[in-house]
Symmetry: C2
Subunit: 150 residues, 2 copies
């Protein structure tokens, strides 16, 4: 965790991104280290945890991170938390809270509240279209002989 | 939306990934098209919406997608929904629901429920460490002259 915190501070001082760092460890070995690169890469998904998950999966040549522990300098936002669930990591440790992040001007707490709201009360308008046609996607998936479940 | 649905079906038939496609449009012009590439790229974050956001931001050379409409073949999972919020797109349209995805074996509905739970009730253990040291990250951020807010 101390490493993740140091990475975050260093990232701000270098002017390359937000105050967030993440380290992924398996069996006591560091698999990946990453920092927030949103503005440097023009990629709003380039949060430290997402970057670390991508790097760790690349290193392990797998799309899952079973047995891996994630040390992140701040409580994961909903995007990152869900990414860690999709990666199926084994444990998550964080330093700052989502409220600390909100106090520093980040949207983390707002996003947690927003995701709990019914669709029609969301800040970004969201609605459903062509449901009868879309369901074909899952029919094809269920019938597919080549599918790789994840 | 019809384009996003077609992309999803084509993706399954090609054996390259899950039944998900996404198209991002601005002022009637298609900015990006993408499909799920989780298993093909060994990247659990490579959902169609995340891939489309990355491609659209690269094309527009920006870390935000103001004025962009997102057409996705399935209701975004929490990772993708939060990614669309971080990208600040203007509207979201989806075909299949999170329940349809759950019926086909995907974790979307589970993740929405999981994110509502308090930390101590979550499936993946999550806990806080070194909070007193971590807060330095935001102190440095607030004081930084080179920071780019996002």
């Amino acid at each position: 965790m101390r490493d993740a915190i140091r990475l975050a501070t260093k990232n701000v001082k270098s002017g390359k991104g937000g105050p967030f760092g993440c380290v992924i460890v398996r069996d006591g070995e560091v698999i990946a280290r990453a920092v927030n690169r949103v503005t440097a890469l023009n990629d709003p998904t380039a949060h430290a945890e997402v970057m670390a998950v991508r790097a760790a999966c690349k290193k392990l040549n797998d799309f899952q991170l079973e047995g891996c522990e994630v040390y992140t300098s701040c409580e994961p936002c909903p995007m990152c938390l869900a990414a860690l669930y999709w990666a199926r990591c084994s444990a998550i440790y964080f330093g700052n809270s989502a409220q600390d992040a909100a106090d520093a001007g980040f949207d983390d707490s707002f996003l947690y509240e927003e995701l709990k709201r019914p669709l029609q009360e969301r800040r970004i308008p969201i609605s459903r279209l062509l449901a009868e046609e879309a369901i074909e996607n899952f029919d094809v998936w269920r019938a597919s002989a080549q599918r790789v479940d994840y």
